[in-house]
């Protein structure tokens, strides 16, 4: 029982956007798909939901192919980040209409929940999507995802347009729905701060490759920040996986990713501090930016 993709490659115009992605999404978990803008998050999700064809590789749900298979597709909802700019046909569509079509096409649509969320978010559904703010469009993404009741639900950047209060509200709603239904959620985001505690598993996608797929807590616990005198830091972290070094004068700070059984040499005069998921992510994926 899982949604599985194997050796998925996606090529656009001769350029590989996804390189050989293999992933296994187990039922009843909240996954976070995190990565920088352009890392391939949307492409990966849309291939998992058979919205886009993969250039190579397979996607299966409980062993059955997802592509052109209504039985599998009925269990998947990939709620897209709506981009209702002027050239998109969606701009002229009313929010109400979009929700009506979603209600027609998702078998398990929860109308009562839809009404509750529209009220909670104070959305004017008579508005055209093209006239909605980024935050309102994020709310539409969230409403479709939660109301679809699909066993595998993907939310593509659901918090990108939300302010911090609305983000917290969204995560509470997500947890509530998760607790009552046990559905599998995949939340793609580049805003990691509040997401870290909600996501049970974290998948870090960087330049079309999966760098990390792990229990969020275990991954965060494996990362530490080591700082002190340059020589002491180098000695304490010798042989370890070191990322994102920063030096100021004689002082140096690095982020270390410890493998099971490894530890920072405690006899050295260095400070060892825990790091947040956000810091760990920046250490892994932000090296070009730091250089």
């Amino acid at each position: 029982m899982s949604l599985h993709c194997e050796n998925v490659v996606k090529t656009y115009g001769g350029k590989d956007v996804l390189h050989d992605v293999t992933l296994d999404l187990k039922p009843g978990k909240i996954y976070g798909l995190i990565g920088r803008n352009g890392a391939g998050k949307t492409t990966l999700l849309s291939i998992l939901a058979a919205q886009n064809p993969a250039s190579r590789g397979t996607v299966t749900l409980d062993g059955e192919p997802v592509w052109e298979n209504r039985k599998s597709l009925a269990k998947i909802c990939c709620s897209r980040e709506l981009n209702a700019n002027a050239e998109s046909g969606l701009a002229a569509m009313k929010a109400k209409e979009y929700l009506r079509i979603a209600a027609t096409y998702y078998d398990g649509w929860d109308k009562a929940l839809e009404e509750r969320l529209v009220k909670l978010f104070d959305l004017n559904v008579k508005k055209k999507l093209g006239k909605m703010s980024k935050g309102m469009l994020s709310m539409m993404t969230i409403i479709v995802a939660l109301c679809s009741r699909a066993p595998y639900t993907f939310l593509d950047e659901p918090v990108a347009g939300l302010d911090v209060v609305a983000r917290e509200q969204f995560y509470k709603l997500l947890l509530e729905e998760y607790a009552s239904s046990g559905r599998t959620f995949v939340v793609s985001t580049h805003i990691i701060e509040e997401a870290a505690d909600v996501l049970e598993e974290v998948i870090i996608l960087h330049e079309g490759r999966i760098l990390i797929e792990a229990d969020t807590q275990a991954f965060v616990d494996s990362a530490v920040h080591v700082s002190g005198k340059i020589e002491e830091v180098d000695a304490a972290t010798a042989g370890l996986e070191v990322h994102h070094p920063e030096t100021v004068g004689r002082s140096k700070g690095v982020t270390v990713f410890l493998k099971p059984g490894q530890r920072v040499d405690g006899s050295r005069d260095v400070s060892v501090q825990p790091v947040s998921l956000q810091r760990a992510f920046v250490a892994l994926c932000g090296e070009e930016a730091a250089r």
Partner: protein, 219 residues
């Protein structure tokens, strides 16, 4: 399949409403242009206005559907095969509704024009099928080749718009003796028209399926 029927049937009624609106506008123009309003004579030509409206709406509607509803339904987990089937169900249904409306008007308002009108239904069917296929091809081209498609659509919309404009200016004349002349032309079904309709449909379906199979959802 149930959701497909529900969605596309509803969409058919929306499009029918649009066609009726266009036909109503043309009918009003015709009524004003005519010297001495003869409601009965007006009624017998209304189906032609309906057909003009249908050609226009089906063309624009199909290309719009191809660029909006097809990717939207794919994004909501429908298979490509079902999207194609649903789309063609809609296309068949709206043409059937249009023909039924024309036939109904002509049967309710019998007369010279109505008699030739009823005989011209096969011609109208072919014209609508061709318009439907052209609209769909325009949409497909637009989805695949953004700019080239856009230019093609503008040209064809211009053509469609021109046709409606022409029809509008002609509308006054419709109630004159020429109506019968024009209607008679339509009643004679040239041998190549059904062939052209079939060819357009085949071209459209083949082209559409070829692209739909690999289509990316971009909304």
């Amino acid at each position: 399949m149930k959701r497909n029927l529900k969605f596309w049937t509803r969409y058919t009624w929306e499009c029918t409403g649009m066609v009726l609106a266009v036909a109503a506008v043309l009918a009003v123009i015709a009524a004003f242009g005519a010297e001495g309003l003869d409601l009965r004579a007006l009624a017998t030509v209304v189906p032609y206005f309906l057909c003009i409206g249908a050609v226009f709406c089906i063309m624009v509607g199909n290309s719009g559907t191809q660029t909006l509803y097809v990717p939207l339904l794919l994004s909501m987990g429908e298979t490509r095969r079902n999207v194609l089937l649903g789309f063609h169900y809609f296309r068949a249904l709206i043409i059937a509704v249009m023909l039924a409306l024309c036939a109904a008007v002509w049967l309710l308002a019998p007369g010279e024009v109505s008699a030739v009108g009823l005989r011209s239904i096969p011609t109208i069917l072919c014209v609508l099928v061709i318009a439907s296929a052209m609209g769909s091809i325009m949409g497909t081209v637009f989805v695949r080749w953004k700019w080239a498609g856009m230019i093609l659509i503008i040209l064809l919309c211009g053509l469609g718009g021109g046709m409606v404009g022409f029809a509008g200016s002609m509308a006054g004349n419709f109630l004159t003796a020429r109506t019968f002349e024009i209607a008679s032309h339509l009643a004679a079904l040239p041998w190549w028209l059904p062939a052209a309709a079939l060819a357009a449909l085949a071209l459209d379906v083949g082209f559409q399926w070829m692209l739909l199979r690999r289509q990316e959802v971009k909304l």
